[in-house]
């Protein structure tokens, strides 16, 4: 279709303007965070601000990775003799262990979430049993309760079980957050798979286990990848439960340690910004790499309304 020139130019112009605004809004804040993390404390405290690092350096990141080798005392903080000649927060050495905790919890949550959700979603979507709808609604209803409302009783329960400061308690808690939503996504995906395939498999003598394994799983790869990503990201980003259920470095996750830096107002801005960049990299990479799956997986249930 060959339309006249004027509307096409207008369209191109509008698209360019709105694309520019979009990039500015979505990427601008993160770009500024990254830019700040590559500057020294002196550079980021200049007025007016340096939009780009005058002399890009990764000294802030080196300081984080070397933090465990340095003993931070009141004396050397006062002399400002940290690697970057900035102030390092006293908890700087906790950042890498916290990152490890975040990775461990995230991996467990992603794996267990998939295992639990796939089986439950298969049962609800495929098997005709009494209470299948009720099971789904009960699961979804638990997510309507705000986290902050759950955190108080959960804290009491887990404290009485003596499981404060255990990564396992975090994993189980996060499963309660991710599983209902994952089931919801997987059900709409499973229901889109032709019923005839299931019937054929059953006639061939497959039980539910083999029907799930050989028919449903291979056909729902996007939803499975989306579920994995969603669960890992939820776990990686979660803050309220981790704040209340962990009280020392053994179990604290990255968001907790970073929030500690933010509260400690002697911390150098450049250090906090670098820590923020480190926390952003894994989830953003994951999201961008699996973009195609996330979009089709996360939105599978939306169109039906």
């Amino acid at each position: 279709m060959n339309r006249p020139l004027a509307p096409r130019v207008t369209r191109a112009l509008l698209l360019t303007v709105f694309s520019a605004l979009f990039v500015l809004y979505v990427a601008g804040p993160v770009a500024w965070l990254v830019s700040s993390s590559l500057q020294t404390e002196a550079q980021i405290t200049e007025v007016p601000p340096n939009w780009l690092p005058p002399t890009p350096s990764i000294a802030n990141f080196e300081a984080i990775f070397a933090a465990s080798e340095r003993v931070v005392t009141y004396e050397n903080r006062r002399q400002g003799e940290a690697l970057t000649s900035n102030f390092l927060p006293s908890g700087a050495a906790n950042l890498l262990p916290a990152m490890r905790n975040s990775l461990v919890v995230g991996a467990w949550v992603a794996a267990l979430n998939l295992l639990l959700s796939v089986t439950a979603a298969y049962a609800i979507a495929v098997i005709d049993f009494r209470g299948r709808r009720a099971t789904l609604y009960v699961a979804l209803a638990t997510r309507v309760v705000p986290d902050i409302a759950l955190v108080v009783p959960l804290f009491l329960v887990i404290r009485n079980l003596g499981l404060i400061n255990s990564l396992g308690a975090l994993v189980v808690t996060y499963l309660a957050i991710t599983v209902p939503f994952t089931i919801f996504i997987l059900i709409s995906y499973f229901e889109g798979i032709p019923r005839d395939l299931y019937r054929a498999a059953r006639i061939d003598g497959c039980g539910h286990g083999r029907a799930l394994w050989h028919v449903y799983l291979p056909l729902s790869l996007p939803a499975l990848v989306a579920s994995l990503t969603f669960a890992f990201l939820t776990s990686w980003n979660e803050f309220v439960f981790a704040l209340v259920l962990t009280q020392n470095v053994a179990a604290q996750t990255l968001p907790i340690i970073i929030s500690g830096f933010i509260m400690d107002f002697t911390t150098s801005f450049s250090f906090v910004n670098a820590a923020g960049v480190i926390a952003i990299i894994p989830p953003v990479l994951m999201a961008v790499v699996f973009q195609r799956y996330i979009v089709s997986g996360l939105t599978a249930g939306a169109v039906k309304g």
């Binding site: 698209l15 405290t45 601000p49 997510r143 705000p146 759950l150 539910h208 970073i258 989830p283 961008v288």
Partner: protein
């Protein structure tokens, strides 16, 4: 016998999930109600008398509670309306086919994947009164004469926090809108063009009605999410300045973990939970028919 096998399998497959939800969701919800009927103060652990609904009555007499209700209402409304509008705009843009569209779609996932703690620290740094990007930018462009405080200004602090929240939750809403838009048959637009409808008329009469299911989902989801926001408040303002950003979630946190009054904290949690539940239900029931 077939029926028996089906039911047994289903029970086996669903049981683990129900187990987890029972321990980590259902039981705490019930337990929380029991706590809310007792006067539990953690500084006096052995004294925990049953007080019935006294905690609830005490909350309704508490001026802080009503402040928090109004702050939460304003904050939630701003978040939901702005997120939805922005999401529709972004979806209209990304639904077009043009060079670079794929790159922009990938960028859209960046805020979604950003941890809320980092989101809070990032915007706090942008709003920083002396070194922040916002002052620097506005003054250099000439929109602002000299540097000013942002988060410490009680008139706008709630809006500034909302802005950070909107930045993070807009992408998912936009994705949902894009998917809904993609499902609109191209024929409808062709027919509208034949009838001489311009761009705006096509948007109002074809796109908007077809967006209904997506809009519903976004409205309910954003309401549920925004009303419970907590992370940003802890990172950015701690409820301040004064009580300018004292929302219900923050009040519950302070009451429970700073004042250690678990009884009233649990009662407040219950009020918030029931409100969220009722709101979601109401949005589904009433708006569902009207949009």
């Amino acid at each position: 016998m077939r029926l028996g096998y089906d039911e047994r399998s289903a029970a086996l497959l669903v049981a683990p999930v129900l187990g987890v939800l029972l321990v980590v969701a259902a039981f705490p919800i019930v337990y929380s109600f029991w706590v809310s009927l007792h006067d539990i103060v953690l500084t006096r652990p052995l004294r925990r008398p049953f007080v019935g609904f006294d905690n609830y009555l005490r909350i309704f007499d508490d001026a802080r509670f009503w402040t928090a209700v109004s702050r939460t209402t304003v904050y939630t409304l701003v978040c939901v309306v702005a997120t939805t509008l922005l999401a529709v705009l972004v979806a209209l843009l990304l639904n077009e086919v043009f060079p670079g569209q794929r790159l922009l779609s990938a960028l859209l996932l960046v805020p979604w994947a950003t941890p809320s703690v980092v989101n809070g620290l990032m915007w706090k740094w942008i709003y920083d009164p002396t070194y922040g990007l916002l002052n620097g930018l506005l003054v250099q462009v000439g929109l602002l004469e000299r540097y000013r405080v942002w988060l410490s200004d009680p008139d706008i602090t709630l809006l500034l926090i909302a802005n950070a929240a909107i930045w993070k939750q807009m992408p998912l809403a936009a994705l949902l809108m894009i998917v809904t838009m993609k499902a609109i048959p191209e024929d409808l637009y062709r027919a509208a063009r034949v009838d001489g409808a311009n761009v705006w008329q096509r948007f109002v009469h074809v796109t908007l009605p077809a967006l209904r299911p997506g809009l519903m989902l976004v409205l309910v989801y954003e309401t549920m999410i925004s009303i419970r926001h907590f992370d940003l408040f802890l990172i950015m303002t701690q409820g301040g300045p004064g009580d300018a950003s004292l929302t219900l979630s923050w009040l519950i946190y302070v009451e429970t973990f700073r004042s250690l009054r678990f009884g009233t904290g649990a009662a407040m949690s219950y009020i918030l939970a029931i409100t969220t539940f009722a709101l979601s239900w109401a949005v589904i029931r009433f708006l569902g028919k009207r949009i």
